[in-house]
Symmetry: C2
Subunit: 79 residues, 2 copies
Amino acid sequence: MIDTLPSQRLAPLIRTLRKAQGLSQEALAERAGLHRNFVSLIERGKNQPTVDTLFRLAEALGVTAVELVERISTANDPA
Amino acid sequence: MIDTLPSQRLAPLIRTLRKAQGLSQEALAERAGLHRNFVSLIERGKNQPTVDTLFRLAEALGVTAVELVERISTANDPA
DNA sequence: ATGTAGACTCGTGTCGACC
DNA sequence: GGGTCGACACGAGTCTACA
């Protein structure tokens, strides 16, 4: 059973993957066609993305959306 | 390359899976803790869910969120 | 049982500025 | 480079009602 909300598990994962790519929030935002502030909010779990935005973030991070979802679906710490 | 938006590919898939479970929109909505109208909008591609809502829909459909995302990530028709 | 319409609340997502 | 604030447009999500 997963008690934490997916979006809360997604937040730190985005940050981890972004740093693994050596990207700044600004660079990630530009790649994903999003605003810099929004990336900041997502990484801190203040906002959660919609489905389309999730896919754009995944692509910008160089991973598949499936990979993102897999990692926030596991019981272990995704980051 | 995937030109169609994920949310647009998700729409018919939700409907297919729901019918495969023999559920009405109402029943699915109740299971997922959503409103009946919202399910109707999603299945017709008028609205797209957020990440948390996607997970709740997946669970209510008896599949994993990973499975949903896998099927809307393929080049083939997910439904 | 589904689609649609309207009205509503609140969150997503943008933008500029500042720290 | 990142956090935060305020303001904004628009979309997510609820609800009632009708076809």
